[in-house]
């Protein structure tokens, strides 16, 4: 996972997350949309055949007072928690 920041402003962030695909980006996006202070979050990804930008680009817009990078960190932690919760719930039932 290689990160490359494209724009980083007070309430806006565009970041390329190389090596990821819909599997992780969609989970991350959905976590971001549930994060406090996030106004908008999406990602853009093009197929390999398009020949252009094929690595996903994550865009986040936040409310005044929330740094988008902080929101991204909160969302990443949330995904991690979800995965841990799923893991332990599955093991408990297994």
């Amino acid at each position: 996972m290689d990160l490359r920041v494209i724009t980083n402003e007070r309430t806006e962030l565009e970041i390329e997350i190389a090596g990821e695909d819909h599997t992780f980006m969609n989970v991350l996006k959905s976590a971001l949309l549930e994060t406090d202070g996030v106004v908008a979050a999406t990602y853009d990804m093009n197929p390999e055949q398009s020949g252009g930008q094929t690595e996903p680009i994550l865009s986040i817009k936040t409310e005044e007072g929330t740094a988008p990078l902080d929101a991204l960190e909160v969302a990443a932690d949330e995904v991690q928690e979800q995965s841990d919760a799923f893991h332990s719930a599955f093991e408990a039932a297994a």
Binding site: V79, A85, H87
Partner: protein
Amino acid sequence: MSEQYEVEFIERGDREATFLVRGVTPAFANGVRRAMLADVPTLSIDEVRVVENSSVMFDEQIGLRLGLVPLTTPRDEFSEGETVTLALDVEGPGTAYSGDLVSSDDLVSPAEENVPIIDLKEGQRLEIEADAVMDTGKEHAKHQGGVAVGYRHLQRIEVVGDNEAFEQDDPRIVRGVIEAEGELVPAESFGNDLTNRYEGKEVEVHDVPNAFVFDVETDGSMSVDDLVLAAVDSIGDRADELAAAVQL
């Protein structure tokens, strides 16, 4: 923010299972499904050294067939890119089966003994040495641990009243698993038709939010449990990596 997760098995086998997960977001459910198909690595033959191939097929065709043989892949024993060597030596007349593959590692063996590789006639012989490599379904479908993986919403059935007298009872088909009177009932148990279960009743069907019934079948390279847990962990690991990268 994260809700209480709850997992309940409806059917449970080594290679095939149906289970309900509550509290999972649609995005996460799909992430797990996709990870099971494309991101959980399994061992599969990727390189073949042919000692003798006097069969009627080209080396490449034999190579493809060997690649598609599922190999048992114990959890946490191998990392991506690691290889295990296998050998096969069969002389005709007879059929070379996947079960004839001899592995150099006791942990790794063909998950299925009866996959025919090629029919050999009198005087024909197939002798090869092959390297199985650990890789993901994203790279090649032969590395896919999950062969039939899907999920659907859990549906709750509510009886809202009686049908009017002499009203035609049209079939009301549901699939998967329903929740009725607080119990989980596979739809197959009443022929997938709600009118069989609720004769003369008017019923409503609602999707239960954040409750998904997963259907998972593996190719035998690992158990359903291992596959699901490995998929969930792979998402968690990526989130971990991202959180660490963002902090810098």
